[in-house]
Symmetry: none
Subunit: 547 residues, 2 copies
């Protein structure tokens, strides 16, 4: 039962990060990614303290199908002078119906008297009673001993007494928290080793990065005997953030030989870290260890030839183990190989076509330099690949022009967007106008309206996600904009991308790709002329997708 | 002579960072800032290998007036089979005329044979000869033992022999390099301690952050006996970067009681770190330990009341010691206490005004439910607070309407946005039009144009960052949009927010807040009527900000 495990607190402590604000849907999505990463426990939030978190646990029960992880609710020990069963905050923890409850408790005597304003004895009773109540209701209980390391310096005996109160009442794990993040590894080693001698309960570690040592501290604690390690994906968290879970896990697994998560899951670390960034909309940090875009990027020069001889001489680990890859100036071999692999995945056999592959590699590289990112937009990549294979763009219509007007109705009230597109399809010139509550929305409506006769198949497409990122922000509103659109068409979902200085233009590119890809996947023929009219609906239903 | 010292390699190893490209003037500017920070040595570059670096050393002699730091030239040991005095690269090192030369040498036997393709013996001779030549020319010599820790694992004896060759020839310091950045602190401690026993020369440490442990590793090496610590400002460097010098120095000085730099200089760390960011044009990392914008920012409402009682309970150090300061973040987790604290920080005494505080708390919570996030937009929060205190919105102009037209020129090519605003200011009705490569850009131009006469102070404001987040993405293009704008106005920078279904409308709200806040901070009076005309520029220059 008390095996070594990883406890993720991205959704609770990570969400304390400045500028990070997660909706309930965001939290559900992130929990799914954390489960794929193979963490043992996911702390979902603080039910009762925060209506969003209460809702999260309710929705998690219906919507989340966790394969590896167990959900934990976070909350506080009971208030002073109140029975645990009468404390609404404690009751909310039970109502979250999670197998695990993690309780935060004061373990620093000055925090007890000065911040909590109660007595040392009452605090011990609060810990004991709350743990006991949760245990009697069948919960597994973890205790976060807040400010433990600072508390241990101030009053060692009291800090340990708090741990004992929790252990005596049946807590499985007591996590020692460096809440202010100021510890250095030797101090962590010393305290964890001493505590392991004096209390008989599983020890955990929870570090913050204020001294730049959160990862090293977490690893030091595990080496000193902790069997539960907390952290957040991408090191999200208040101030300088929490320990970055991917770095901690990778260090333990790849450097210290501990089996922390399944190696196949660790190999998805880069993908999952980036997927979570997309949800949080926090720009990924290029220099992030293991999963940063630059983490295995070599400015060739001096090393270039040696790198080719033996890359291991220049890399601390094989980047594939965390889903990353080496990047150098001489990497077009690797580039061709991965394009070939990607083509295979999409159903195109590109082996034995080095010139084609080289063309695709060069086009992708040049576009990515401008801000395109095809790993988030498979459908746009497939259209690009198809274009290079056939030598032709797939044009379902001939665009003449588009225009969008956005107008205020009054300052504090609303605004309205109106888009007009002019194009040729189905043998006719069409001018159509659509309204929307934003420019992209209006454009989407106008384009559908214009194409409705020639391509009735479009009716089932729906934009299901729309994301915007401003690139090269140093230039403010002059910067490049990247738009990612996810479209759903009944059973399938596809992602397209557009990049342009103008956000509306970037959206237009992604929108056209979205429609084009959806039509192509359904085997819909191009109907530019009057002869190429859509088939009746029942005949269309029997059409077979191209691949 | 061999006292403990800090050796900065921002200009050489830091410049290897992906996307970082320093001109000679940039390097001279950064060297000046490094000197102010109080580092002992500044590695300026590799003369001879790189014409820019050769020029840097020439210009440094004329232009740099270093008060604390000594300049070092970096280069390699002589080539195999050539006398040191005949190697042009070694001669270039002498021609740089620096008091110190730092030589990089192979200390990993496989790198000697496989990468350098010479013999183990010749490599030792290369180290000895080059050090000896430089010493005979009066240079102080430091040796960077490349891949030392990996080499020590592979062939301990040879790695140490390389150090001895340098020491015997007169090197002052041999710096042990974790070139691939894969070490963990206990390994560093073990190796540095062992080496200190077996060679009689000052030891240095040079760490990279690939395992997320560069700061901890550097501190561990110093604790194990290193008297020379290398790093870069802001942790710049190839891949995941080098050890962040400010974190290393702050940990040694503020946590381990070593006097590394003058405390008054350390108190400038935040200013110097940001000044260097301005030169490198790398966006500062908010979560950077000690000097990050978020490093002492507290979000949780839970702590706010206690924070008021004793901030030290919640901070690992006094932020003033590195030139930073505590910030309270306003969010839906905030209660009255944190609003009061935030008010204080902004210069408003709100104590004894519970109703006002309650009103603000409720307004913040209700807005945050709609997607606003004030912890990322201090300026918008201050305008909201001011409005609740005075009962009035601060309107620098009366808006009548705005409109933006975005039009395609052709599909693959460009698009153009044109904005028209109609408003009253300075006693006139103004209709102004601005063009831009996107709707917000156009709106920014139009609004500036419209207000230029009434508020010439706007000319110095510049949008320095622009971020968009689509909220509740389940609804696709019908979703709510949140826009965050950062504006710079000479010495100060402020953040504003806008939330609306329409991205253009959200941008408009954030833009108006940005202009309003900037004008308010400068004490600019509202000039709606014709009588309220701007003062001449020289009078304005003397105006005092409101707080």
């Amino acid at each position: 039962m008390n095996e070594f495990h990883v406890y993720d607190t991205t959704l609770r402590d990570g969400a304390q990060q400045e500028g990070l604000n997660l909706s309930v849907a965001d939290k559900v999505a992130i929990a799914g990614f954390l489960d794929q990463l193979g963490v043992g426990f996911i702390e979902g939030g603080w039910p009762g303290a925060n209506p969003k978190d209460t809702e999260f646990f309710a929705r998690a029960r219906d919507e989340l199908d966790l394969r590896n992880a167990v959900l934990a609710a976070f909350g506080s020990t009971r208030r002073a002078g109140v029975r645990a069963e009468d404390d609404p905050q404690v009751r909310a923890l039970l109502e979250a119906q999670t197998p695990v409850v993690t309780l935060v408790a004061k373990s620093h005597s000055r925090h007890v008297t000065d911040a909590l304003r109660t007595t040392r004895e009452e605090n011990l009773a609060m810990v004991h009673d709350t743990v006991a109540l949760l245990r009697s209701e069948g919960r597994r209980v973890f205790l976060d001993a807040e400010h433990f390391f600072d508390g241990y310096r101030t009053d060692r005996e009291y800090a340990v007494e708090v741990l004992r109160a929790a252990a005596d009442a049946g807590a499985d794990v007591v996590a020692l928290c460096d809440t202010n993040g100021g510890m250095l590894p030797p101090w962590i080693t010393e305290v964890v080793s001493a505590v392991a001698e004096s209390v008989d309960v599983g020890l955990g570690i929870h570090c913050h990065n204020d001294a730049g040592c959160a990862v090293a501290n977490s690893v030091a604690a595990v080496e000193a005997g902790a069997m539960h390690v907390q952290g957040t994906v991408n090191g999200y968290g208040e101030r300088t953030g929490n320990a970055d879970l991917v770095s901690v896990v990778a260090n333990l697994q790849l450097k210290l030989g501990r089996e922390v998560v399944d190696p196949d899951r660790l190999a998805q670390a880069l993908h999952l870290s980036h997927a979570i960034s997309e949800v949080t909309n926090v720009v990924p940090y290029g220099r992030q260890p293991y999963v940063g875009a630059s983490a295995f990027a070599h400015k060739a020069g001096l090393h270039a030839s040696a790198l080719r001889v033996d890359a291991d001489l220049y890399q601390h680990i094989d980047p594939a183990k965390v889903g990353n890859s080496m990047r150098t100036l001489v990497s077009d071999m690797a580039g061709r190989a991965s394009i070939e692999l990607k083509g295979q995945e999409l159903g195109y056999d590109l082996s034995g076509q080095p010139e084609l592959l080289q063309r695709v590699v060069e086009r992708v590289k040049s576009l990515e330099l401008q801000g395109w990112t095809f790993d988030a937009a498979d459908a746009s990549f497939e259209l690009l690949l198809r274009e290079e294979i056939t030598g032709d763009r797939l044009d379902y219509f001939d665009i003449e022009s588009w225009r969008i007007i956005t107008e205020s109705e009054s300052f504090a009230a609303k605004s309205l967007s109106e888009a007009t597109v002019k194009l040729r399809a189905g043998g006719r010139r069409v001018v159509a106008t659509g309204e929307g509550n934003g420019p992209v929305n209006a454009l989407d409506h106008a384009l559908r309206e214009a194409l409705a006769d020639a391509y009735p198949e479009l009716a089932e497409f729906r934009l299901s996600d729309f994301r915007v990122r401003i690139l090269d922000t140093a230039q403010g509103t002059d910067a490049t904009t990247r738009v990612l659109i996810e479209t759903t068409g009944g059973d399938d979902t596809w992602d397209t991308i557009g990049v342009a200085p103008n956000i509306v233009h970037a959206s237009w590119i992604a929108l056209v790709d979205s429609f084009t890809y959806g039509l192509m996947r359904r085997g819909v023929p191009v109907r530019l002329s009057a002869e190429e009219q859509p088939l009746p609906a029942d005949v269309r239903a029997a059409a077979v997708p191209v691949h």
